[in-house]
């Protein structure tokens, strides 16, 4: 049987990962906005909030698309991941184009927040996941990060 005809059933680890990232993003949101506000003023603070919201939406949408497609088939998951990349990039572009001339938006603040928060939250999460995978005994919550789930034919 072709591997593409298989499906990955069971728990959806990407949902857990993205939920974790979103939770951490919301926790650090005030700090990010204060830092941006100190550097760029009030417009910078609002732009940082918008940038962070776009990043968190991006993670959430990516996880939702993969967790929807994976139990159906791995082929659909491949397609959804690639077209999802295009879709999410398009949505971020659209959001930025819509607010580019708005008075309360500072584009440098928005752009830098998008890059810094995206990479920062990823490294933060990766550090936790790497530790969980390397030392399963130290995993804070074994049910949250399953090391395996079944991949079955539909």
């Amino acid at each position: 049987m072709s591997p593409l005809a298989m499906a990955s059933v069971g728990q959806a680890p990407e949902v857990t990962v993205s939920r974790d990232i979103i939770r951490r993003g919301l926790i650090i949101a005030p700090l990010i906005m204060i830092i941006a506000g100190v550097i760029w003023g009030l417009t910078g603070a609002w732009s940082a909030g918008l940038g962070l919201a776009l990043v968190l939406m991006n993670f959430g949408l990516a996880a939702a698309l993969i967790s929807w497609a994976a139990p159906i088939s791995l082929a659909l998951m491949m397609g959804v991941t690639l077209f999802g990349f295009l879709l999410r990039l398009g949505l971020i572009s659209l959001a930025v184009f819509l607010v580019r001339d708005v008075s309360w938006v500072s584009l440098p603040a928005l752009g830098i927040t998008i890059i810094v928060t995206h990479l920062g939250l990823l490294f933060w999460e990766m550090r936790f996941i790497a530790a969980s995978l390397a030392f399963p005994g130290l995993r804070p919550n074994a049910q949250e990060y399953p090391s395996s789930s079944a991949a079955e034919t539909p």
């Binding site: 728990q11 959806a12 993205s18 998951m77 971020i92 990823l122 990060y145």
Partner: protein, 90 residues
């Protein structure tokens, strides 16, 4: 080609030429920055599917790693996008 360039230069002010060059550069920056991550994500997901097919019991770990890999690869496209908006609009 040179004649066309001279014709364009003759009809445009230096400021217009600069704006046009910035717009073209921004477009190239965004387009080229999206190609690499596109290839990367395709390769990454393809290999992940292969891994899940070979070792179904490790699918959870593979999906976790795949998701993080996709997000890291996508960061390159986001950097290209930010360079684009800064060149074009800032």
């Amino acid at each position: 080609m040179e004649a066309i360039a001279q014709l364009i230069a003759a009809e445009m002010t230096p400021a217009e030429l600069k704006n046009n060059a910035a717009a073209a550069s921004a477009g190239y920056a965004y387009g080229l920055a999206a190609i690499g991550p596109g290839i990367g994500i395709g390769y990454l997901v393809g290999k992940s599917v292969e891994a899940m097919a070979r070792q179904p019991e490790a699918a959870g770990m593979v999906r976790t790693t795949m998701f993080l890999g996709i997000a890291f690869t996508e960061a390159l496209a986001l950097i290209g996008f930010v360079v684009f908006i800064l060149l074009k609009f800032a």
